[in-house]
Symmetry: C2
Subunit: 398 residues, 2 copies
Amino acid sequence: MSHDLLLRNVRPMGGAATDLLIRDGHIAGIGNTLDAPGCPVEDGAGALLIPGLVEAHTHLDKSVIGMGWRPHQAGPRLIDKIETERRLKHEWGIDPQRQSARQVVQSLSKGTTHIRTHVDVDDAVGLAGMAGVLATRSAYADVMDIEIVAFPQSGLLIRPGVPELLEQAMRMGGDVVGGLDPCLIDRDPKGHLDAIFGLADRFGKQVDIHLHEPGLVGAFSTELIIERTRALGMTGMVTVSHAFCLGDPDLAMVDALLDQIAELDIAIATTAPSGRPAPAVAKLRGMGIRVCAGSDGIRDTWGPYGNADMLERAFLVGLRNNFRRDDEVEMALDVCTHGGAAVMRLAEYGLQPGNAADLVLVDGEALAEAVAARPPRRLVVKRGRVVARDGVSLIAAP
Amino acid sequence: MSHDLLLRNVRPMGGAATDLLIRDGHIAGIGNTLDAPGCPVEDGAGALLIPGLVEAHTHLDKSVIGMGWRPHQAGPRLIDKIETERRLKHEWGIDPQRQSARQVVQSLSKGTTHIRTHVDVDDAVGLAGMAGVLATRSAYADVMDIEIVAFPQSGLLIRPGVPELLEQAMRMGGDVVGGLDPCLIDRDPKGHLDAIFGLADRFGKQVDIHLHEPGLVGAFSTELIIERTRALGMTGMVTVSHAFCLGDPDLAMVDALLDQIAELDIAIATTAPSGRPAPAVAKLRGMGIRVCAGSDGIRDTWGPYGNADMLERAFLVGLRNNFRRDDEVEMALDVCTHGGAAVMRLAEYGLQPGNAADLVLVDGEALAEAVAARPPRRLVVKRGRVVARDGVSLIAAP
């Protein structure tokens, strides 16, 4: 379907007011003299124009959005959350297709146009999560780009049959090979990392590994990730998610790790967690490291928070990193837009003519104000089509 | 002015739906059989009913709300922010009366019914901040209760004439004597604390001291605060704001300090900062320590964030303290309601009949959901009067 649209009176990245013409879902031109007879017109009312927000780390398959309030049950350890989730997915009937569709629609309402989602592959749900999210990806292909990480959430080697399931998940349509805490969950760092890097190498795909491991254990796992990235020539093909260890103030080796992470173009995904070590965004960006951000789980068995708002995530990135100046707050926003696009290797992303017309209009005088105030999105455009208005999705959820 | 109101179909603290009758600005009764002919009625539509939110640490005199977006200028150190603010207050014409009124109205729209504000008293603005906030307090007395801390933001002993100004501020109508980093800013911990405790003792008033000092320096200042609280018999009369040092994981003496803080009923005010040590809310509450929360500065020269939403603050308290279970998230909300009331010693606070009808209606199935989702407040009632509806204040701002 071809989408044409003329956006009048918008301020790209907070600059001077201008118009933007969309032809066939792509940005055809930006300027004040644009005229397009017969083309639908939206008045931007001087709002800020930014590229679509990028949700670069979430879990579409297991939100309980729309299923009523469900009090948190899991204990404090990571393994408690894993085991509780395995139980509740079944008890609560968390349907991956329905729930991923609901989260996609919520993300649209907040201005997100691209999602990288991890999808659980384990010996309890098998490939049902993959099937559900793949069905949602297909059903919502016109309004959301979704990249799928086949993710061994329960562990890879400690669960029978999961390596084979992960390979099947990649054959089904997984885009990225996932991994998880090779020491503290999978208990075999060499085995875990050899398996997921080997799989990615065979499929010619990227790796995105959840690394919650703190301190020196996390640093050790990072070293093993670096070694495999180098040995397999996978420069630019690896993302480490969370990477709390890289924010550990007591770990002298962080700088040496970051040097190699920069050299091998390994990306870092962060949620900007409050109250625990986390990678320092400005430092990483200053070294040229790609940094993206995500909501992580949105109202799921892991925790009650999350609303899919990547402008709020930029605010949390700002708080976590003590960003106060406009250029700093703009960096937080950039992490949630171009940063995610760089990690997902999006080819047609950004406000330059020729790129896909994935756009958000948000009120504010300056980009930093949009992050600080996070008002409802005035307009969300996906490939030229208006998909949300005044904070409300125009696309139906199941 | 007498305010009567019948709230139909509301769920006090997330309980069963019932009605609540307000007579003469006070809660007259709660129950399903209430009838009040001629009384105005509001349909609560099954919304959660909570007591008014309490903003227990903010700075009404210096927000730049409504003055356009003003990029942050200050350097990284505390003293940079102090010096920059002294300059910009003058350059930008930050009028304490106008700006405090604007913030009060914004707070109302979010459901805040009580505010403890620090007000700068220094050798640059003199008592202009006090005069402005006192005027606002008077003008908005019907819709907001405001407690004023006379606050030597620039330092007490390092600035000529400020001790005398602080005493004048208390005579003008200050409710609480403020203090600030007796070591690292005022450079004379004994002199600073003797001065502010002496002043509070003479006026029979409480103390609320900003303590940003980290680690052992902060612990040392805390010891001096404890010593003076004990010596002057000021049990229950002292609040320490921020108290980052009490969250320092490397400080072995924290538990000993907390024991004395509990014994002397010293309260702790927190903003739940992301990415730096902060008092552990559940631990303090478990020891019986009164804990309140606040937005701190709202869009001022100290930083670009802040929106006066104490439900969002509860969310940030939850994130900072890793609260996930409903009882934990409810604790975060309690800090932002009853916790603040306990610090401000509010006599008529809470949902019990006989108390002032300071109430908020917010959509959600459970209290924890209200904190996680933070929807616009459906209705805000101050002493029986509807002051905000659907997130919009009905009271005008200048």
